[in-house]
Amino acid sequence: MPENPVLVIGGGPAGLEAARGVADLGYHVKLVEKAERLGGMPILADYAALTPNMVNAEEAMGEMVQRIENDELIDIRTSTEVIRASGSAPALEIGLNGPGGEEDIQTGGVIVATGFQHFDPGKETQMYGYYEFDDVITLVDTERMLKAGKFVRPSTGEAPKQVCFIQCVGSRDRQIGNPWCSKVCCGIATKEAIEIRQLIPDCRVFIFYIDMRMYGFWEDEIYWKAQEKYKVNFIRGIVTEITKRGDQVVVKGEDTTMGRPVEVPMDVVILSIGMEPSEGTKKMGELFQLPSTHGFIESIGGALNTVVTSVPGIFVAGAAAGPADLEDSVSMGGAAAMKAAAFLRKANLRVA
């Protein structure tokens, strides 16, 4: 009797890597993705270049998709959601809802790779006016423009002369209930700052930050590069509020290094919005009764076991477990594949 397939929920970087890993280890995979297309947030949110290596998102994710598309062990179901779960691994009964209607399947194990959603700046308790001012945009809006090879003031369609990023929007904030650091925003903002400087050399770019979190090689590959080569201005201190003066927006804050008040008009302000658990992550957490931290799915082993949850046969990978960069996500996808395959193998040995 062939063993039940591993169900991978979510077709982003973590899910794609998990599916590939499970298949490479010789087990069947059912890869379920809610969207019409595989590739996850980098594709769905129109990322331009990936952080930190600045490779084209469309191409990089395309390669990941290509690697699994023709694998006969992998059954790909897009536009499909997991709606029911009962029993226990390795004989979990799962209800799917896809283009062909509802379907019940049996799986041997599950890898939850449902990822994150971008923070909605309307919830911010600072006064950033994302819903009031055309020229206040987010990292994601910026990616979309960069992907089209342009960067303009939304209000005029013209190239900006002065742009700033505000870090930690929706992260590290007790007031709105998001006390975590989203890990990637410092890197992404700095990457985008470089891209804007490359695109519009006479545009001044500022980054208002609390701490620049540029781990490992991000330090010299993007942070130092932005400071030294691209002359991006890093200002320690976060913007308190954004208001309108004439046809420009004004940012107000404190430069805490200098201990001086900042009040400066900007053509474009980019909010570095953080990560929150996606709807899918919250739903799967409930469906499989997985304990969570801040709404993200908890692994039982902390740093030493990043993908095993407290429910046997259910694994987690990528930003479903907490803010994660691509390295984290893909590494966790691989680790989850290995753990899931091992779980099935041990289960089969027991049956035999």
Binding site: Q126, R174, Q175, V239, T240, E254, T256, V262, E263
Partner: protein, 242 residues
């Protein structure tokens, strides 16, 4: 000992500073007003006092979170009265409330009759008298040109026409000149009782003995006239501590 080379008040024993700090920290409100500070400066740009004084809500948050009692003592004496108490700083993403910590620090400064507190409140005492004895903070008869010379000629006009102009105000409760509105005697007595029962007169005594004596006399007389036994007013807060 302070970590700063330019520290002030090194002559004040650290035990004194620590005791004052502990009193602030012991206030029940403190634990929900001060967490930690990562120096984002959001509070500073929102703060009106920070634009005009050498004053920073961020410094308050940082010093209190570090439990740096030496610098706390500097703030308690040199900075605490500059705050506008507008609570613009409540936008803190760490949910600190520097303004509210300052309210508590000021209470401690008053309770200990610190010289700096006395100086900050020197010309303010008559307002304390007004609010405690009448139940309204300001009154029409305070609009005097010599007290508000910078407010323009309207103040003079108001003060000259005060009695008639007050009677030109339609609500029956507002024909007063010594009170903002006509607070009934019953209600004023109730307010005195609250002040006495919560030990507020003792606080005033620490800051301005003259005002305290007048207040005590006026209030006790009125309470006695109305058949209250003033010896019966123990401080409820002290009782609660037992």
């Amino acid at each position: 000992m302070s970590i700063y080379a330019d520290a002030k008040y090194s002559e004040v024993p650290v035990e004194t500073k620590q005791a004052l700090f502990d009193e602030v920290k012991a206030d029940m409100r403190y634990e929900h007003q001060l967490y930690g500070c990562y120096e984002c400066g959001i509070c500073v740009a929102a703060c009106p006092s920070a634009r005009f004084y050498d004053f920073s809500p961020r410094v308050f948050a940082q010093v209190m979170a570090r439990e740096d009692v030496d610098t706390f003592y500097e703030l308690l004496n040199d900075s605490v009265w500059d705050c506008s108490q507008c609570f613009s700083c409540t936008r803190c993403p760490r949910q600190n409330n520097p303004g509210a910590v300052i309210t508590i620090m000021r209470e401690v400064a008053v309770n200990h009759g610190l010289q700096s507190a006395k100086e900050a409140l020197k010309s303010y005492s008559r307002i304390i008298y007004k609010i405690m004895s009448t139940g309204t903070q300001v009154a029409p008869d305070m609009l005097q040109p010599d007290f508000f010379p910078d407010w323009g000629p309207d103040v003079k006009q108001v003060s000259e026409n005060l009695d008639v102009w007050r009677r030109c105000v339609p609500p029956e409760t507002m024909h007063t000149t010594e009170l903002a509105w006509d607070v009934s005697e019953k209600t004023r007595l109730e307010l005195y009782m609250i002040w006495k029962l919560t030990g507020n007169l003792e606080m005033i005594e620490k800051i301005d003995e003259g005002i305290f004596m007048i207040l005590e006399e006026v209030m006790e007389e009125l309470l006695e006239e109305n058949g209250y036994d003033i010896d019966d007013f123990e401080n409820l807060l002290e009782e609660d501590e037992e």
